[in-house]
Every structure is written in C-alpha cells, then in structure tokens.
Symmetry: C2
Subunit: 402 residues, 2 copies
C-alpha cells in the first residue's frame, strides 16, 4: 500500500479553503458545524469519496461516510467541522489521511477501508454530537433539545441536510475504527517526536467547590479574626500537589480554570469563593484516589480554617477509554518501522470521536505533533513532514490489521 | 456637664425614621446623600440645632453645621447620610452624640461645642465628598465632574440644596474636631470592651497584579509543562504571611478581594490572572516595608515560575493619619474614668471624615463596639448601654479639653 504524499497534502489544502481565513499567511479556518462552509466541505468530500470508489452516505446527524465496497470494512476518519476560529488540521487531518489510506488500499487491492467525517465534534450544539448520536450515547429526542449559542436549534440544523441525509448505518458493518488526529498538546513537539500511539482517552471528573467564609471590611477586620474564602481557596490550590504526590503519574493532570469571589470588591474580605476543579487520568482507580485525596483536603481545610467547604459534581464523570490492544500493537509496530526512535505510546488528554465508538468496535488512535502544543486557534499547525509520516504509519498499521 | 441618655437615644431613634426600613424588627436605613430622606433628615437636624441654641449653617457641599455662639468652638460630629442599605448608627451616632454634648455643654455653661453632619461620607459621588470639599482636598471644579452610579451629577445634587446653602465656613474658627463612630470591626465586641480611643487612621496602599502564564488545554498539557497563572496567584497569596512575618503587627492587614482569570473556563489552564492586593497599617514605614516584601515576592515568584508578573498602583496611596496627642490624652483619661478596664487604644482601619480634617485642626476619634463587627448592612447595631457610655466619655473628654 503506497499512500501518495502530494495527493494527500493537496486535498488537505483544498479542504482548508472551505471557510479558510483570508488574512495573508493565515492558516485559520471558520467551519462551524452546519454552516455554509461546513456543508460545502461535506459536498466536496462526498465527491472525493465517489472519485475514490467509495459510496457517500450521510446519516441523519450529518455524519458523512464514504463506504468501501463489500459487507465489512475498517472505518477511518475524524471530523471536518471546526471551532469558530479553528486550525486547519484539527479533525481535517484525520479525515483526509483516512481518504488517502482508503485510496491507497483500493489501489493495492485491499484491505477495504471506509472513511467518515463526523459532524459537530467541536460542540456547536453539544460535544461530539454526531458520533454521540450514531453510537447511541445521545438519543435523537435529547439531541432535538440542543440549542447553539447563536439560538440555532438542532432540528433547524438537521433540516439543512434533509435533502442529503439517508438512514443510520449499522456500526456492525465496520471491523474497527482508526482515528488520526493532531495531539493538541506539547508532548511530541517538545520531544522532537513524529508520532504518538494513543493508549487510551483519559477519564475526566470535575467538581465545583464553594468555600463559605465571612465577608468583612478589609480595613477593620484583624487578620486573626478573618475567615477569608479566597485565602482558603489559594491554600487548597497550593496543597494539591503534596496531597497527590503518592498517587499521580506525570500523565495525571488537574486544573482550576475558573474562580469567582463574592462580593469581589477590592476593599472587602471575600465571604465566598466558588471554583471548578477538574482532574484527568487514564486510570479509573487513580481518578478515584485523586478524588479521595481532594475530599480529604477539603475536609481538612474546612476543619483548619473554620470555613464551611462544600462541593459537588458539575458534570457526569467521563470514564477512561482504553484503546484496543490489537490496534495499539499494529500502530506501534508501524511507528517503529516508519519512525524508529521518534514515537511514543501516550494517553490522549483530549476527548475525540473515538471515545464514543470504543464500546462498539475495536478503536485505535494516532497522534501527530502540534507545533508549540496549540490548537483551537488560527496558529495551530504541524510540519508537513510529520503529517506525511503519520499517513505512512497509518498505511503500515492498516496492512498489519489486514 | 451632664448628657441626658434618654434625650440622646430618643433623637437617635428619631433620626433613624428618615429612610428607616419598614420591615418589622429591622433597624436598617436607606438615606443616601441628597435623597429626599437625607434632605428631610438635615432639615430636622437644623431644627434640633436651633432648639439647642446652635445656628444652623449649610455650606455649598451640603455639610450641615450647628454653630455655637462665639468666635471659637470645638467641632464635633460625623455624617448622617447612609449606604444604599445601611445601618442606623454609621455616622448618625456621631452626629447625635455631638448634638447631646453641645446641649449638655450649653446647659453647663461651656465649653462651646459646634456640631456638624458632613455630606456624602458614604460615597454616593466619591468618598467623604463633603469633608473633602470643605478641607480643600477636592476642588469644586473636580467635584462638579462626579457622577453617581444612578447617573445623578454633583451639580444636579447641589442644585437640590441651593435654597438652603450658604457660603463655606472658615475651618480656623474651630479649635479641633472630635468624631464618635461605630468601630465597624470586631475588636471591641470580641473583647467585651465599651470604648476605643483611636490612635490614628491607617494608611492604605493598593496594587493590581497581573500574572502572565500560558493558556493551555486542561487535558493535553502535562503539569510539568504548564505555566498556570492561577496556581502562581495562589502561591503568592499563601506566601504572603511568611514574607510579612518580621514586618507586620497584629494591626496590619492585607486583602486580595478580587481576582479574574483568563479565559476563566473550566477546561482551560488560565493564561492570565489579575488580582488586587491592598494593605493597611498605621505606620508609613511599615507600609513601605510591606510594599518591599510584596515586590520581592512577586519578583521571586516570576523567576521561579517563568511567568511574567507585572503590577502597578491602582489608586493614590493614602498616608496614615495620626490623631492629635492632646485629643487622645483627653479621651483616654475620660475612658479610664467612665469605663475603667473596658477600653483600649486602637487604630481605625476604616476611613472617616476625621481623616480630611487632620491637616486643618487637632482631631480625635472615639469608637463604640459594632455587634459582631458588621456594618454597611441592615444588621449593624450596638448595645444602647455602649452608645450611652460613649457619650459619657465624650462629655468627660470635652470637659478636659476645656
């Protein structure tokens, strides 16, 4: 199987033109799900599928498949919608890489490879909306209640594709799902490596913490008589690394991304602090142990400071999603052939459509580097040599999977 | 000199009725500067002045004086405007206590005591607006640019008193200024003490700090590669007490009352944190040393974390304002007579009209307890026995001052 680098890169640049930012030198893209640019890109993709001998099929969620001949095939792909101001590779790389592999596989006489571009991975309406619907994790009734921030409803969005859409596909027709994606993190780029074989998609837990102190005058209240909610929040933040010390690995992460003080005035000792605390890890036991350490810290800090500290889950826990062992083995062997010493096994810290499919079929993922680790911005980019290396690893892996 | 507790308390309750909250049991008051309630209260006060043999005089800022006969007198008073939802004693106590002392002094044949209720101490337009104008710290031209949050301009406000207002009074006619006020802090109440003799009004400095880190994805960025602006802000907060350890006294205070993270999203490592840091102390050298320790901490933390940390003054420094030694001595001797073992010398952590007058004449201040230390709320209160004790201390001090 011989993927063609020039053909692959040319298609990738053509896809970028749909919603591509006009500014000189910009690689940015505006291709929000169900916008003109998104639907035009899907129409163009359907043509490429036809030219490659794949049968285009759009399902009721707007997921666009290019189906290989025959009853069974390996599914490859990602998504072609973007953030409001997104990069040119986030999703697009996995879709065009899949197209190139499907073509190369057909030219080589097999194995059969189908392609998919999922709809609304970037969450104009929810998050991973298209693959959530297809996998049954989101019901059509619940989807119909989704509303974008601009007021567009999901029923309005799917009305835009009513002339194109057919029925749902049976996932059982696919032997597995293989997704290539940019890393969206700094690990490969910082290490000078070309490829990451994803071991799993990390689980995520998130709580909202409220510290109830005592609102006071910032001039008349002696330090010893204060119950300053922000000071307590700061102590919790700085104590976390110690509390986690015997639990976490270098791949565990935790983040306080939002905090609000009440009343939030410069001359008032904050009476209340509310903040989010999110943690992610590839191992469910470790997520449990981190949760236990957090709860213990919050209890200890409440006892120590006399503040009431309450917390609750802000969203459903997301369980870690391990990648299929056979997929990992094929990708690792291929990476070792194509980029010896320049790849690693690593978790995905970000969610991907692959998470939704892991219960339905064997799933694998491959990462290529993100320059400076940035994504969801016009500045997102990856060296073209790395993009091509990724396609070659995919080709070798698909050969191994047969 | 014999102040009458009943007459004093009756007047205090009558003043409360102007703008008093109607809810059963509420002691709260809404008497914002220049509102109907405020002007009606000033008209009532002018009558009480007249009845007490004092000549009412309103100046162009709306400050209402009750002038004792003769060329020279001691000025006593505070303010009778309130916060939008204020307490019944904040300001009012000092005005009615001064009225009672002026009456008692007249009944005793001297010394001559004049009374004042300053206008807009609570800062509908600025802060301490009336006493700032009278003392020359705020020019009439600058005052005319002031606008309340409801859109009312200062010229509109002073137009409401044009029929009542006369000219500015020469501060030189007063031998000194003595202000009684609720503490607005927890110190006296917690100690079970009745009276505080104010040593000075603390100075205040305030900076705005910006921590510039690196905004990143909260899932894909390993902890070791983060420059999390909030974590750095939290470390600064928790490091302050150690850095201050050899500098501060139990009367020094510092506060981070406001913080904002960018972008402030639960799944994004904060790239920027902006927060206010305010500190107050009675000693200017100590304010300097605290400022030095803060600057050193911010520099150290920048070096340690690789974040750029910038800061600047948010407002003019307010210098500490010591109270007059003779006034303090008279108040202390009086407190020792009236409430032996139940008073203390203490700084004022809050600003007062007395701050503005300290450059013009000898100034003294007396505190009575605030129950639970609260003020600027309907719940503000002080035991009536403590209110009366304060008036008795004032009477004895005025006798000593002659």
């Amino acid at each position: 199987m011989t993927p063609h680098a020039d053909r692959f890169l040319a298609d990738l640049h053509t896809l970028r033109a749909f919603g591509g930012d006009d500014a000189p030198g910009s690689k940015g893209v505006r291709r929000r799900a169900f916008t003109e640019a998104d639907l035009a890109a899907r129409d163009w993709l359907a043509e490429q599928f036809r030219d490659a001998g794949l049968t285009p099929h759009m399902d009721p969620a707007g997921n666009l498949f290019g189906l290989a001949p025959g009853d069974r095939s390996l599914l490859m792909g990602s998504h072609s919608d973007t953030q409001p101001e997104g990069g040119w590779l986030d999703g697009a790389y996995g879709v065009i890489a899949a197209l190139e592999i499907a073509r190369a596989a057909q030219e080589a006489g097999g194995p059969p490879v189908s392609v998919v571009s999922f709809q609304d991975e970037e969450g104009r309406f929810g998050a991973l909306t298209g693959s959530s619907l297809w996998s049954g994790k989101l019901s059509e009734a619940d989807a119909d209640k989704l509303v974008a921030t601009d007021g567009t409803t999901w029923p309005e969005a799917r009305a835009r594709i009513s002339d194109r859409a057919g029925d749902w596909l049976d996932p059982a027709r696919f032997t597995g799902f293989l997704e290539a994606h940019i890393e969206q993190g700094p690990v490969l780029d910082a290490a000078g490596e070309a490829v990451g074989v994803v071991t799993g998609i990390v689980g995520l837990r998130q709580i909202q913490v409220e510290v109830h102190g005592q609102q006071n005058h910032a001039g008349t209240t002696p330090m010893a008589m204060r119950r300053d909610a922000f000071t307590v929040a700061a102590r919790i933040t700085t104590a976390l690394p110690d509390r986690f010390a015997n639990i976490v690995t270098p791949q565990s992460v935790w983040t306080i991304g939002h905090i609000r003080l009440h009343p939030g005035a410069q001359s008032v000792v904050p009476g209340r602090a509310e903040f989010s605390l999110q943690w992610r890890d590839i191992d469910a036991d470790r997520l449990d142990r981190m949760e236990g350490a957090i709860a213990q810290l919050l209890r200890d800090m409440g006892d120590e400071t006399g503040c009431e500290i309450t917390w609750g889950k802000l969203r459903h826990d997301l369980a870690p999603m391990p990648m299929d062992a056979g997929m990992q083995a094929a990708l690792s062997a291929a990476a070792d052939e194509v980029a010896p010493g320049r790849w690693r096994a690593m978790p995905s810290g970000a969610l991907h459509d692959a998470s939704n499919l892991a219960g339905l079929m064997p799933v694998g993922m491959l990462f290529v580097p993100s320059i400076n680790g940035v994504s969801h911005t016009f500045e997102e980019d990856t060296g073209e040599d790395d993009l091509v290396t990724g396609v070659e690893v995919l080709a070798r892996a698909v050969e191994r999977l047969g």
